[in-house]
């Protein structure tokens, strides 16, 4: 198990960053990464070491996150049509923009959020994103469209980042 522990220590920071984008909460992110690593440990002997481990644990993590939400009888983060209250101050400072993005991400469903993180943070293509989430490419396309649409609606101050030109 030593090589697994080595893997955990080496990859935890990057996994935590992705998990934080997925959950928006420090503790939830830690729980999610822990759960994904435990499942990976159970498969450790069988996973292809030639670059497959990181992909495996990320796949588990993303699916767990989407799955957890689907299984909950309620959602702590309610998706609403009403735009959120936006932070005051200069909308063009870095801190305010980060806050706006965090707030906007919280308005997405977990699947939309996962698609967004995979596509625009992990830089994965549509096919690979679909593979990670275990859904169709069509679903990835529609979820991406809906996620960006909601971000534009709820956070006009991010419009310059979300225009088709900026995302092309």
């Amino acid at each position: 198990m030593n090589d697994f522990e080595e893997f955990v220590r080496a990859r935890t920071p990057a996994l935590l960053r992705s998990a934080y984008l997925l959950t928006g909460d420090q503790h939830a992110a830690e729980d999610l990464v822990q759960a994904a690593l435990e499942r990976t440990a159970l498969r450790w002997r069988r996973i292809d070491r030639g670059g497959g481990v990181d992909g495996y644990v990320r796949t588990v993590m993303y699916r767990l996150q989407v799955d957890r939400w689907r299984r909950r009888s309620y959602s702590a983060e309610q998706v609403t049509d009403a735009p959120p209250e936006r932070a005051g101050g200069d909308p063009y400072t870095g801190a305010d923009t980060r806050l706006a993005l965090r707030t906007a991400l919280a308005r997405l469903t977990p699947k939309q959020r996962a698609v967004l993180v995979l596509r625009f943070y992990e830089d994965l293509g549509e096919a690979r994103t679909a593979e990670v989430l275990g859904c169709s490419v069509g679903t990835v396309k529609s979820q991406t469209h809906l996620a960006l649409k909601r971000l534009r609606e709820t956070s006009p101050e991010l419009a310059h980042l979300l225009s088709e030109g900026a995302l092309a």
């Binding site: 822990q34 759960a35 069988r46 495996y56 699916r63 980060r98 965090r102 943070y121 980042l161 995302l167």
Partner: protein
Amino acid sequence: MNDLRSLLADVAGEVAPADLAPRVTAGLRRRARRRKVAVAALSVAVLAVGAVGTSALTRRKPAGLTPATSGGGYDGMWIDIEDAGRTWRIQAQRVGEPRSDRGLVTAGMLTEFDLSPDGTAIAFTTPAGIAVARFDEKAELQEYPIRRAIGPTEARPAFSPDGRSVLYRRISRKTQGISYDGFAVVDLATGAVTDVAYPHGDGDVAWSPDGATVAVPSLGDQGIDLVTLAGARVGRIGGPGWFPLVHGWSPDGRHQLVAIVDDLGGGREAHGAAVVTLTGDVVLRLPLEEWVWRDAGHVAALVGDDDVEERGLDGSTRPLMTFDFGLTGVHRPTLRPAS
């Protein structure tokens, strides 16, 4: 894209560093401990199958080793193994799944049910007693007609091998738990009930494949009584460490497969199973918790978290399949016959 990615990276960078290695290790130890709680896990397994409802109980037989997800918004997963005209199902259960508002969960206590041998009906315990229902063509459980509710003091139904009768326990509800007073057999065609006085044992009774004998487990005695439908005990098998509430007849009626809990001392236990003859001779020991009869000479067993092997009574071992449950979001898989 770069701007959005940079901003996402900035947000991601707000997360505080954490050393998760000790937590992962502790979590794996908890998982190992959970595997030892065979009783709780098995009862959850029954509940889970009930919650899956139509999917787990249909006569669906996909060709080959086909993983599939069930419909109806429930993402239970199973794998069917087709072999010699019979289908064996590996049911991947979930824990903490919200109960479905469809199907049997709304009908009663799904900790106690039995499928008819031909897979077209189910007998189950409700607060009002035993109910027997048939599936419609689509196996939609909410549409079945409840044919008979017998009374509030019956439990643990079991179909006869020919599917024409249901045997159930007579119970007395007391301040502290319940006691089993005997059992009864109801003829499903006529409704006639035959009482059998046998005030012993507890748990699920199981009809022998030839219909002549009933296996009545007794947790206190760590054994199984073999009783005729006239209430006469014709045999008893058991021994130290037996956990007879989890048991099953071999298809030919010559053996019982029984859960075993070995006390290793110091509070440690090892869970497994034993195949025994009806005179109590142990034919095969399995250091495994999940198993199901495959045919009269073989048991399918879950090895580790994702390997399914066939173990023969002659000591042979044959791998059946491996499946990656790591990606399914399930707690642990269980084995059940699906046809």
